[in-house]
Amino acid sequence: MELILDIVVSSIISGSIYALLAIGFSLVFGVARIVNIAHTAFYMVAAYCIYYVTRKTGCHPGWAMIAAVALVTLLGMLCYQLFVKPIREKEGAVLIATIALAMAMQEAMVIQFTGTYLTMPALVKGYFAVLGVKIFYQQLLTFCAALVILFLLWALLMKTRLGSAIRSTAQDREVANLMGINEARVALWTVGISVGLAALTGAIVVPLTVLDPHMWMHPLIMMMAVVVLGGLGSLKGSFIAAFILGFVESLVVFLIPMGSYLKNSAALTVMIVVLLIRPEGLFGISFEEER
């Protein structure tokens, strides 16, 4: 019984993190057709920013998080304007550009912080026990924060004009242009929101994780698996797929303790099997090239 609860708790927490990352990635792909390999790299930069600001100025991590999110969002929009916008039409080039950006950010972190492992204190210390399973308050905080952010995002997309514009551009770029929506500006805003999401994820995950300049690779792979499984461009798909893959990972860790390093491979295998059956992912749209 406790085992099941452990698995459920663990998968919910990791699932919510993947969901945040995947939705940001999916958003920018659906709207601007940009595969942003540097998405998790922004997540990493935000985490380091928070660490740096907290250490240097000694102020409460909360302020550092706000500062970091703002800075990284600006950085993301700047990178987009300078490096991605001029070559937006060529998908291959955009892909390489984002890889190069991710590498540049990684190297910048190595130069500034070296490869030593760094950690941040938890915002709320301590833990509580539910039915024999110990959960950190910080994990609960992170999970609630993830839910809040997802809700805000949903509200943004469904209830505001910008959200409408984003959704329509995602559905059909040319027609949205014809309807008078400034497609380029919507793309810029979407990039900002997407990078902001990544930064927020960094902010809420930072107290739980260890910082090192290569921390962006593993979430990248899982995030891409989630996005592909859920269907590119489908936010609902990303959300659900995130929890599915989080669940698979937890299953592996708990049921095969000797093989907990296999959790990556297991999740990826699940993704491939689903793709064999349904090539556009769980909720993806089939005739993508007709858009």
Binding site: F29, F83, G92, I111, L268, I272, L275, P279, E288
Partner: protein, 347 residues
């Protein structure tokens, strides 16, 4: 007897003058061949030879990627899989079955071909970004399996103790360079053949190709297998040259590197990735002096190239020094005003 030789050499010279010297890009390729083959005669520094050997091995790898992803349009983000499978298979076969390198490398390549089938079949129904992201998954899964079977595969220590390529640094160099020049020429010929045209067409519009009655599935699988074969050869060469085959050959960053090299040089040209590798790998090694800034500078250079030459460096260079005749479609040196064959005006 001597007359035969004279006529033969005359012919060769005429061909040389009219076909090769006419276009600067062909002259460059010729000089490249000569330089690589004759280098050890006047600069036998083992360190330099090592760098060039590694470069040649990676050049084969990059060219094989271009064959699959450039020509056939199947974006493969997990090319390191073929490289790793080739390396491990060659090393294992050599270590346990005692087959010498000229046998174990082809066997490694065959192993990579099988890997190509394994990933090609699920990927047949996938397109574009889905394909790219899915192919990313395969080397990672294989790495997990390698760690799981660490008794057999050596886990993260990898496999070592197998034979070297040719026993000496110069020997290794020549094996790698000859292999590279040979295999890349073969790949170049493939892209120029009927099969190559079909592969190119698949990239442009698969539906149209299917409508023409060609079995695209078979050709796509062929592309995966060919690409896998050449990449597997490169993996085998690597394993025997370094005398080590480890999980680093399957790394995600290795896959990314391959994509960067090829895009940097220009996709859909076999010479683009080869040239890019010959520039980037020695350059990175040279940047050793600025160890901290090395990768940062590399990333910066890649970004700049993408901004100004999005089709790749060598395409851009070639377009600067050569022009295509509008009538007969043959290339001419850019300083000409009329086509060398049909005399049409070039401007």
């Amino acid at each position: 007897m001597m007359r035969h030789f004279r006529i033969y050499f005359r012919k060769l010279f005429v061909v040389f003058r009219n076909e090769i010297l006419v276009l600067p890009s062909r002259v460059v390729v010729l000089l490249f061949f000569l330089l690589l083959l004759l280098l050890p005669l006047f600069a036998g520094d083992p360190y330099l030879l090592r760098i060039l050997t590694l470069t040649s091995i990676f050049a084969i790898l990059a060219a094989s990627w271009d064959l699959l992803s450039g020509f056939t349009g199947q974006m493969n983000f997990g090319h390191a899989l073929f490289f790793g499978v080739g390396a491990y298979t060659a090393a294992l076969v050599n270590l346990h079955l005692h087959i010498p390198p000229w046998g174990s490398i082809p066997i490694g390549a065959v192993g990579a071909v099988l890997a190509g089938l394994v990933i090609g079949i699920p990927c047949l129904r996938l397109r574009g970004t889905y394909l790219a992201l899915t192919t990313l998954a395969f080397p990672i899964i294989l790495m997990g399996i390698i760690f799981a079977l660490s008794d057999f595969t050596g886990g993260e220590k990898g496999i070592s103790g197998h034979a070297s390529l040719a026993g000496s640094r110069v020997g290794d160099y020549y094996v790698a360079v000859v292999a590279m020049l040979g295999l890349c020429t073969i790949m170049w010929k493939i892209t120029d053949s009927n099969t190559g045209i079909i592969l190119h067409a698949i990239r442009e519009d698969e539906l149209a190709v299917r409508a023409s009655g060609i079995n695209t599935t078979r050709y796509k699988l062929l592309a995966f297998c060919l690409s896998g074969f050449f990449a597997g050869v490169s993996g085998g060469l690597y394993a025997h040259f370094m005398r080590m085959a480890g999980p680093s050959t399957l790394d995600v960053s290795m896959s990314f590197q391959i994509v960067i090299w090829s895009m940097f040089g220009g996709v859909m040209t076999i010479y683009g990735p080869v040239g890019a590798v010959f520039i980037i790998v020695p350059l990175l090694e040279f940047f050793r002096f600025w160890q901290e800034l090395r990768m940062l500078m590399f990333a910066g250079v890649v970004l700049l190239i993408l901004l100004y030459m999005p089709d790749g460096l060598f395409r851009w260079l070639r377009d600067k020094i050569e022009k295509t005749c509008p009538r007969c479609k043959l290339r001419n040196i850019a300083t000409r005003h009329t086509c060398r064959v049909c005399n049409a005006p070039l401007d």
